[in-house]
Subunit: 209 residues, 2 copies
Amino acid sequence: MAYRRSALMQERLADNRERILAAARRRIAAQGYRGMQIAAVAAEAGMSTGMIYRYFRSKAELFVEALSAAIGQELKLLNAIADGPGSARQRLYAAVECFTRRALAGPGLAYAFIAEPAEAEVDAARIEVRQRLGDVIKRILRQGIDAGEFPPQDVDASAACIVGAYTEALIGPLAPRAERVKDRDRLTRAICDFCVRAVSAPADGRGRP
Amino acid sequence: MAYRRSALMQERLADNRERILAAARRRIAAQGYRGMQIAAVAAEAGMSTGMIYRYFRSKAELFVEALSAAIGQELKLLNAIADGPGSARQRLYAAVECFTRRALAGPGLAYAFIAEPAEAEVDAARIEVRQRLGDVIKRILRQGIDAGEFPPQDVDASAACIVGAYTEALIGPLAPRAERVKDRDRLTRAICDFCVRAVSAPADGRGRP
DNA sequence: GGAAGAAGTGAAGCGCGATTCATTTCTTGA
DNA sequence: TCAAGAAATGAATCGCGCTTCACTTCTTCC
């Protein structure tokens, strides 16, 4: 034998992988999925297009991996909030606030994963992400119901509604070309209030008319 | 001159247009935007691909027109509810119920317009649709606030949240390949309750913790 | 019946961008 | 320094599906 990967080489390979992912993230943040052509990513990373395929099986795989890492961060934060101190209501508020604030602060990435169009394979990943976001919410809701803070309700539906509510409310502001939100705090507060009210008992008896 | 469109011919042309739109709707309902290839629509309508372009400038135009008609129906119903009798709460409940029920009854179409990925040109149309859905909700909310039924709130944000909530809650069940909903009524009720609670005053003072 | 012009056909053209692969350059261990 | 094998290159390939257009068929009117 006349070749074995040295530690140095190993490192360089891993580094290349990282550079590709970083380049992909940057392209996505700038232009969304549409802007993530393999050629563009390669150029951004300073390497040839063929190189990309040495590290990722396909474009879809690269996209999913790049965004999964990003969303993983968010999920970690949300889970910490769910498992942290405070009443269920406080934690729900904090979770929604955390997500919306960060989405508003770093636009592009969140939009790409939450709302942007892509291929079938990628779509599947997005649905999964939304479900995982819903799972965190569900945990908070169950705890709140057990503690008597929230009235009994269909937690699956409520969690989906909450995820839908804050993502939709963010899509306008996050969408490319949308004018900057004038007052982020105001929007964030409105969204959080909405979500908390939605799972709390109304002042006048049953919610149904 | 030796040719002028007869009434009969005129009719046949209009009929062709309708047949194309119907075929497109069917393809969309079955497979979403992805399934609406020009060739497939032409085959479904029993004509040649070239024919499509005699009636529609582009694929995007056909898609938008096909779905605008469908969503127009929905908007008409929703507007009637918004302008109809009953308390704001009742009307909000009815509007959400109307949309979700119909979406669940005729799956595919609603999903395509509300959640499915497409091209930039089509995306713009989708955003507009969502806004128009939000506008109806906004009207109901404003009336409810004026009447003292709902507490003061950011109606833009609340309306967006409501649209997001019910669409997201429907995506799971509506998404292609998702298993049939076991109990549609139950889901519908959960969504409606959620939305009404979300805009009503909570039992214990301010929504914020 | 036949000329003028419209409707209809569908295979070929085309643009786009992911993917491949023959070739070149670099690493390793002796 | 060298041979063996890995990594890297990027131009060529390929697939997909919208769109076009040269041609055929049908309508109308005299």
